[in-house]
């Protein structure tokens, strides 16, 4: 009823209503025009003096899609630290925001204006063993979202640094440097001009902003991120016989030391694909494969199995073969297990050693947890079908009675070679394959009668 209007009333009432109406309209216009400004400037100073532009402002930073962000207590992590739990090789879309990215600079300072677009930099730092944060990547994208895909486990910080030029007086145009007068330039000429001005700090106002009163205002924020290892360790296994003209390593330790050097040097990949390189020792290489495969997301991880040398077929023929294996992921803790089972019908049928020929076995493992920078020894075993471990004779293994072909030596036990490597996060690589003791003459003179 407040706005009731009766055309039959006299002119005074009409005038009264009209005034009231236009007052309301005016109030509404004032509200609509002032409202957004008030909203933008609530953080700004309201003093009548020229407002001071702050050197920096705060910033928010987070992951936009948290689907694959693991819970805070993932893999036993302490809660309350505020660190995010990520999986290696999974891309996470980061986003950040700051008052520096607004349309206008009212939230920075009253009457302030932005000069141009913000400068936005995304940086990833990794903590080393001494606790120092070292830069892994730095990308000047000038975008407030960024895909972060960290490919190696460890503790990281994703950092966003923002900056923008802010002025309170409409800003200043860019000023050509050294443009203080063409005469001075041409008089000094060439290198001489540099000599006159090259000492840093001799020119300019030490405290003022260059190029006018535009001032660079910064913002930054970081997030701590624990990136978890989801990759099974690489493993190399070497079998080296001590017969014939082959120069057997003096001890097993010597072979291991040689392998440690090579596995680090080759980042876990086979040191050669030439079968001739494996005349002294036969190798099993089990690793993540090509670089493109090494960046697979945890639930699509694969492994490459390579067998090289003379001991992986009954004829003793040298070869180098590679194949891809799938890796099995644990759906709870996202650890991977690469499991190689050898045998008839498998890509790895078994290892064929000669009777009466001593041999040694060494296994070395390296992990992406420290970018394959170190390697460690892995326990190997030869056991029978009941799990009874076959002991070494001296420094190596020696079998005097053949068990291959199995059909001819049914009374002889089955032997299995087993080994496994596990990293600190529980990613596992295991190999189990038959070990055949070959009657030397039959094996190397196959096709003739014994």
């Amino acid at each position: 009823m407040y706005f009731r209007y009766d055309s039959r009333k006299n002119g005074g009432e009409r005038m009264k209503f009209s005034n009231r109406f236009w007052l309301i309209v005016a109030v509404m216009f004032v509200c609509t025009s002032v409202w957004p400004v008030l909203g933008q400037t609530d953080a700004a100073a309201t003093t009548e003096e020229t407002p001071e532009i702050p050197g920096s402002v705060d910033m928010s930073l987070g992951v936009k899609d948290t689907t694959y962000v693991m819970p805070e207590n993932f893999r036993g992590k302490e809660t309350g630290e505020g660190d995010q739990q990520w999986l290696e090789d999974v891309g996470y879309l980061m986003q950040e925001n700051s008052d520096l990215y607004n349309v206008d600079a009212a939230a920075i300072a009253e009457s302030a204006n932005f000069e141009g677009e913000p400068n936005i930099n995304w940086e990833v730092k990794k903590e080393d063993a001494d606790g120092n944060m070292n830069t892994e990547s730095s990308d000047n994208t000038n975008k407030a979202t960024n895909d972060s895909n960290i490919k190696d486990p460890g503790y990281y910080q994703v950092h966003n640094g923002g900056a923008r030029q802010v002025s309170t007086s409409g800003g200043a145009e860019g000023e050509a440097i050294g443009d203080s007068g063409s005469d001075s330039g041409s008089e000094s000429g060439g290198a001489a001009s540099g000599e006159e001005t090259a000492s840093a700090g001799n020119e300019g106002d030490a405290s003022g902003a260059a190029g006018g009163d535009a001032q660079t205002v910064t913002a930054q924020q970081r997030i701590g991120i624990e990136v978890h290892d989801c990759t099974a360790p690489d493993m190399w296994v070497a079998f080296q016989e001590g017969a014939g003209t082959v120069n057997m390593a003096e001890t097993e330790e010597a072979l291991k030391a040689q392998m440690v050097g090579k596995i680090i040097e080759n980042m876990g990949k086979p040191f050669s694909t030439d079968a001739k390189a494996f005349e002294e020792a036969s190798y099993i290489f089990l690793e993540e494969g090509e670089d493109s495969d090494r960046d697979s997301i945890p639930w699509e991880k694969t492994a490459r199995l390579s067998i090289a040398g003379t001991l992986f077929n009954e004829r003793g023929a040298p070869k180098f073969e590679s194949g891809k294996l799938s890796s099995k992921i644990d759906q709870n803790d996202y650890t991977n297990h690469v499991n190689v089972i050898g045998g008839e019908g498998k890509s790895l049928k078994g290892v064929y050693v000669r009777r009466n020929v001593p041999f040694i076995i060494a296994a070395i493992s390296t992990d992406n947890g420290n970018k394959r920078a170190t390697a460690g020894e892995v326990e190997v075993k030869i056991e029978d079908a009941d799990g009874k471990v076959v002991e070494k004779e001296g420094e190596g293994y020696l079998f005097r009675v053949p068990n291959y072909p199995r059909s001819e030596y049914k009374d002889q036990p089955d032997y299995f070679f087993t080994t496994s490597a596990v990293d600190k996060d529980g990613n596992l690589t295991t190999i189990r394959m038959p070990l055949y003791v070959v009657n030397t003459q039959a094996a190397f003179e196959g096709g003739r009668n014994q």
Partner: protein
């Protein structure tokens, strides 16, 4: 004006207001493309102290507003983030039991606002964590050195009584401009009838050399330089980059027939801004180290037969950048 009209009017006004706000939002997306896809607000939801930061020269003096390209300055960052304990109060809010839990992470950048590009500073020297050597490599009229420092800390949440992790942040910028001390690196391309040509160009080598003088190599190629092998690139090394770059005829020259009409094109290069109004090139002789033009200035076509050539004519390019650095390159012109 009846009640219905008034309500209609009010509705229009409200609708107009709403549409204005909506347009403002859509406009924000157009005006702030860097925020595309961002769904979080501009302020952190949890406590995250922003601490003051000062950066200055290692001798304690303020960073000058003008630096010089290729000249290093060692800077120091000064902030409470390097204190033994984190702040126990921020913006009037108590921070109970604060402890640092990680080392400070420090990042330095140089922003060239003229290009809106930054370069992350890194030093091969062993420095304290709060120090950085910054060497501006490219001139700019509008730049800034920025320093960003963050450190993980832990405190006791007053609400839950449990530990809580957050970051203390410090960042600041010093606006600077970077003086150009490198002369231009201009060259010429010369061709004659029949398609034969010769080109020479200049590259600073080693790049960013300091102290002065700057050095440069001059490269030559083409049939007018070496008719037997036009593809070969001849390098004249170690000339002082400046106003007296004279190539000796025994190292390289441009050979042309006496009746040739030369087509000359200049390749103007500078590491910042060339003063094109001062650019001169053509054929000259040298007197007191200065080029005395024989051909019309900056002529695209020069008929040798119309010139009175001196005993030792040169092709030359005389270039100056906006900072006044001057390059004059003289290349022997041998008329057969």
């Amino acid at each position: 004006m009846n009640k219905r009209s008034i309500l209609l009017f009010v509705t229009i006004i409200v609708g107009l207001s709403v549409s204005l706000f909506a347009q403002d939002g859509a406009g924000a997306n157009k005006e702030t493309p860097w925020l595309e896809g961002v769904t979080i607000g501009p302020h952190p939801e949890e406590l995250s102290p922003v601490l003051p930061l000062k950066i200055y020269l290692e001798n304690g003096e303020a960073i000058p507003a003008t630096l010089t390209e290729d000249v290093s300055v060692t800077l120091v960052a000064d902030t409470a983030i390097f204190d033994p304990e984190p702040p126990s109060e921020y913006n009037g809010t108590e921070i109970p039991s604060p402890k640092w839990t990680r080392n400070a992470a420090v990042s330095w950048f140089f922003i060239d606002w003229e290009k809106n590009k930054n370069v992350a500073a890194s030093s091969s020297q062993q420095l304290a964590v709060n120090q950085m050597v910054v060497t501006p490599l490219n001139p700019t009229g509008k730049g800034a050195i920025t320093c960003h420092i963050g450190r993980k800390m832990r405190y006791t949440s007053p609400e839950t009584g449990k530990n809580k992790g957050t970051f203390a942040n410090s960042s600041v910028a010093q606006d600077v401009r970077v003086l150009d001390i490198t002369p231009p690196t201009c060259g010429l391309e010369v061709s004659v009838q029949g398609g034969r040509s010769g080109t020479f160009w200049v590259a600073e080598n080693p790049p960013h050399k300091y102290p002065l003088p700057k050095l440069a190599d001059v490269y030559f190629s083409g049939a007018l330089v070496k008719e037997a092998d036009p593809a070969e690139i001849i390098t004249v090394q170690g000339l002082e980059l400046g106003a007296n770059m004279v190539v000796a005829p025994e190292t390289a020259a441009v050979y042309v027939p006496a009746d040739a009409v030369l087509n000359i094109k200049v390749n103007g290069e500078d590491n910042y801004k060339l003063d094109t109004a001062k650019l001169k090139y053509g054929i000259c002789k040298i007197a007191s180290g200065e080029p005395i033009p024989i051909s019309p200035l900056n002529a695209a076509e020069v008929a040798l037969a119309e010139l009175t050539l001196p005993e030792n004519p040169y092709l030359y390019v005389d270039a100056t950048d906006v900072a006044g650095n001057r390059q004059v390159l003289f290349v022997p012109l041998i008329v057969k």
